[in-house]
Symmetry: C2
Subunit: 404 residues, 2 copies
């Protein structure tokens, strides 16, 4: 790990050369089965909301980044970035798509951040969009599996559900995590989702219902798995020196970090840890000069309940094996020390895969602007967002904070 | 156009804040119908060649960008960037995919460039890979059409071939371009390809054969259309201050520019011009402080012969309407003032769609290092590479130059 540490040190030193970057606008669609909206309409709705929120003019936008997993397979459309830009009336603005499975949105945010931090651009829009319900459930799940290792996992019948189920089983075996711990994640996220008007599921679910719901891949039940959804989200980024000329309460991007791991689950050193998450978190904390204790909330990638438990451990909020009990105790609930997935998370807010990272950014900005309504975290000053690709081969973490 | 000019001015001013970036390593596979190689093998072959050429160690690489159009549809595999990194033994290195149809490679190069120019990273690998022959020709063409506007063009039967044929027809009508002009592009590029050991087609084709080949979409014949190929390419980027510690002859990236246009051909203002190319070229020239006359060679996106004619006009090498006659006169041939597609271009070197932009970069570096063998341009000091997405909704241009 010596070489990783050296890189780590250099990463932090080098990030000192970057300009400060702020989020000055946010927008998102409601998430759900949106059969009356196409991908381009979702992208446009979210993008124009964000631009309007920021009060920027179209001609001020210098570049657009769009996170998206699989529009090619889901709706026969590649090259979606210029398409969405065009139909939003921004056909003069260069637009590019970034893909990293479920982490596409967060990775797009990193590239957008970098394009402003570098000094090349002043105003950039980063969006995420996915349209998953134009194909059947089985086809959508198959396409999702294409972000695992197709030739060495999926082709042999290893579904996404089963790969995560293996991780859950191993976590239970090694750390005593229980089905009740997993279920507590779902109960909490549905409770939070009931307070979010953009969430796909806005209904509280009792523990008993989660525990008695049909098994998808043992030990994961239907309520341990996030839905596959339609939706889009967007943020407007701006160089710090100009941010206040657009908006009274810009939100600062204080840190960004990416991590990687083996593609196939069977090649990983540990099944109870996401190495990519751990490294991404460390880099983001280092760049921000903050630690897990400083965070007032976190949005983590709960595509499965076990994913949230691993994430809150790997990010340093709880020791390994402590994530389940902490969740059951309510230590990640809305009014705890570290509320996790106040938005409802992927479980209840919904999972438009390539948009997830931007949906998380929107939630963080709402919290840091005191605009999160009934799910507002009091005096939120710093928040973390964590976005995961595939079964954990890529991860990206951002730390956002209140302006100055 | 006032607002575009303002952005242009700002773009150039702002690029003054960026660090200088060099290409210190290149690698590519042979292009063709490579039935014995998978996408990951192609990516690894190209990547490891580039790393070896640069003499960098795996642990020095800080990030990987991979340009790819449609691995999801072509081989059921999304999330390919961490997969290729992993199987190349670089599972610790964060990797992300960039997609912009046929311009995926060039757009990835821009993002890689920016990550080094910003100061965040010192050494970054940018690759491009596409595996197109695992599906049949018709399926591959359908997938290629997904980079046009699926809902407003492809679904009604407008193929890529027919959309470019319309542009060719309009160019002929407006500027007197002839079938012989188009054919001259193909003849030249096949002649160049015959000198390139990595080219898919290494055989000279006489004009008569091109003119008498079967019509694909009138006026385009089989020899007016580039093949759909398998292949991969990679470059290693490095901050200028460290480049010479790795290699005696680094190559400088002097300018980068992106342009955009309406997604659907029927929405464009002109059918004889690629606005995206024109704007991308202007930005890249401005950043480099150079003009078309300064270029010693150019690799342009000749997915169809008409594309090359439009590109050499839109990039300012020839006046509008002058591209065809110039090609017929031999003014873009290997030993002319501005040799175009010395590599053989997409027509003869081949078209692994998402890799094309990086294949072009490899050719430019070979020329600027005097390593292009029988197709070497004498005393090449500056070269331009031009990569096009879809039917022209996105374009990206880079200008490379000999070191100091």
């Amino acid at each position: 790990m010596q070489s990783t540490q050296n890189l780590e040190k250099k990463y932090i030193e080098e990030s000192g050369n970057l300009r400060d970057v702020a989020v000055i606008g946010i927008g998102e669609t409601r998430i759900g089965e949106l059969w009356d909206k196409s991908l381009r309409e979702l992208g446009i709705d979210a993008g124009l909301s964000a631009i309007k929120d920021a009060g920027v003019k179209g001609e001020e936008i210098e570049k657009i980044y769009i996170g998206n997993m699989s529009a090619g397979s889901l709706i026969n459309q590649e090259h979606i970035a210029p398409m969405i830009a065009d139909y939003a009336g921004l056909d003069d603005v260069p637009a590019v798509r970034v893909e990293s499975g479920g982490a596409s949105g967060g990775m797009a945010l990193t590239e957008g951040y970098l394009s402003v931090a570098s000094g090349l651009h002043d105003i950039v829009v980063v969006g995420g969009a996915e349209k998953m319900t134009d194909v059947g459930d089985q086809e959508a799940k198959k396409i999702l599996s294409s972000t695992a290792d197709w030739e060495w996992e999926s082709i042999f019948g290893a579904t996404f559900d089963s790969l995560y189920a293996m991780m859950a089983r191993y976590h239970m075996l090694t750390h005593g995590t229980t089905k009740e711990h997993l279920a507590a994640v779902s109960v909490k996220n549905h409770a939070n989702g009931s307070l979010n008007p953009n969430a796909q599921f806005q209904k509280e679910i009792p523990l008993k219902v989660v525990l008695n719901s049909p098994t998808v891949s043992d030990p994961l039940t239907m309520f341990d798995c996030a839905p596959l959804s339609d939706g889009a989200a967007a943020v407007v980024l701006c160089s710090a020196d100009k941010a206040e000329s657009y908006i009274d309460e810009p939100v600062a991007i204080l840190g960004t970090g990416m991590g990687a791991d083996h593609m196939a689950v069977h090649d990983r050193r540990d099944l109870d840890t996401m190495k990519a998450t751990h490294i991404a978190g460390e880099k983001a904390f280092s760049m921000a000069g903050l630690k897990p204790d400083d965070m007032d909330f976190a949005e983590v990638h709960d595509n499965y309940t076990i994913s949230e438990i691993m994430a809150i451990e790997d990010l340093g909020f709880f020791p390994k094996g402590g994530g389940g009990p902490a969740t059951e105790r309510g230590d990640t609930s809305l009014h705890s020390k570290i509320p996790v997935n106040t938005s409802g998370g992927l479980k209840a807010k919904g999972q438009p895969v390539g948009a997830v990272g931007i949906n998380q950014a929107v939630e963080a900005v709402l919290q840091l602007r005191d605009q999160a309504g009934k799910r507002q975290v009091e005096d939120a000053e710093y928040g973390l967002i964590h976005n995961l690709g595939g079964t954990g081969a890529s991860a990206v973490v951002h730390i956002l904070g209140r302006w100055r």
